[in-house]
């Protein structure tokens, strides 16, 4: 399953591209193609296990709920 925090965008405050590119809504940054493999759970990757950004976001959300 693709990371729910992944989006495809063409621009943010710093960059403007011709095409949609992988964008992390946690860090508010475009991510590298290599990192996008993790976001998209490709090649045996699992964003829940292998992405420290996603893990930190989940932990932060859980803390907010407490």
């Amino acid at each position: 399953m693709t990371c729910p925090r992944l989006e495809y965008r063409a621009e943010n405050d710093e960059h403007e591209f011709d095409h949609l590119r992988p964008y992390c809504t946690v860090t508010d940054e475009f991510v590298s193609p290599m990192k996008a493999d993790i976001c998209n759970d490709r090649f045996d990757f699992d964003h829940e296990d292998h992405c420290e950004v996603f893990q930190a976001a989940v932990e932060a959300a859980a803390a907010d709920d407490d």
């Binding site: 960059h15 095409h19 590119r21 292998h50």
Partner: protein, 282 residues
């Protein structure tokens, strides 16, 4: 050929390879990194003019993400041939653990590439995910490349991968020279220190010809060192997106120009494409 001292240093032409794109980072790291065929071909053309005789090719989809689609590699093969004079083409087989998918571009494009990479051993990536690159896979890739008249480029990410070079050579699977890339600074591979480059060179089998590839800020000093050792060099934005600290590379040709300038200052001739064919027995 193993290191022969100053005879190599002064007389042997240095092959400059360029890796313009790669599969690890993209325009989010440096907007000048070429991802699409048109911009790759334009940059490679300028790299060839600056002295590069080999281009190492990765393909990207429209989102800038890596793809193993043979059609995309064919598109790149065609446009590079159209725009450049005579540069040799080297396809990647790196990325992920899809054994068949990784080699399909090499054997399905026409003409087949002049060279293609074989990642010789495992690399840790994230968590419990490993790029496997088993011995069985190495042997299969080399055999299939040989069948298609593609010269294997043996990627030595860590010192232990040299064992695989010796193994493939001992099994008679390789034609001399054994074209080997010594990689420093990649993930869990060789730590990028000068002494480690010397150690890698010292442990190559007789009959090897080698180039140095180093990541990030290590690209400049270690490729320069390789030239003084009689080796060849690979530069390009796949491995390094900065020209110097805080200054992004403007084009791959800029990195090739710097490598060519260093070679000239060291009084090593730069290999033309024909000389590269001769050196690598293509």
């Amino acid at each position: 050929m193993a290191y022969q001292g100053y005879a190599d240093y002064f007389e042997a032409p240095v092959i400059i390879s360029v890796a313009p794109t790669g599969g690890m980072h993209g325009k989010e790291a440096n907007p000048n990194l070429p991802e699409q065929p048109e911009e790759i071909a334009e940059d490679v053309r300028n790299c060839e003019k600056a002295g590069a005789s080999i281009v190492h090719v990765h393909a990207r989809d429209e989102d800038g993400e890596p793809t193993k689609d043979p059609a995309k590699f064919q598109e790149l093969r065609d446009i590079i041939e159209e725009r450049c004079d005579d540069i040799l083409v080297n396809f990647t087989t790196g990325g992920g653990n899809d054994r068949e998918g990784r080699i399909r571009p090499v054997i399905e494009t026409r003409p087949t590439p002049d060279l293609a990479t074989v990642d010789l051993g495992p690399l840790n990536t994230r968590g419990d995910v490993v790029a496997m690159n088993t011995r069985v896979q190495n042997e299969e890739y080399v055999r299939r490349m040989n069948e298609h008249d593609v010269k294997p480029e043996l990627e030595v990410f860590g010192p232990g991968h040299l064992t695989e070079v010796h193994h493939l050579a001992d099994e008679g699977m390789l034609e001399e020279p054994f074209w080997t890339t010594l990689i420093l600074g990649m993930q869990t591979g060789t730590i990028p220190r000068p002494r480690n480059l010397i150690n890698l060179v010292d442990n190559l089998p007789e009959g090897a010809e080698w180039q140095c590839m180093a990541i990030g800020r290590h690209q400049l000093p270690l490729t320069t060192m390789a030239m003084t050792l009689g080796g060849h060099v690979r530069v390009g934005m796949e491995d390094n997106v900065y020209y110097r600290r805080g200054e992004l590379v403007e084009s791959n040709a800029q990195l090739v120009e710097r490598a060519a300038d260093i070679a000239e200052r060291l009084e090593r001739p730069i290999a033309s494409t024909d000389e590269t064919r001769e050196i690598l027995n293509l």
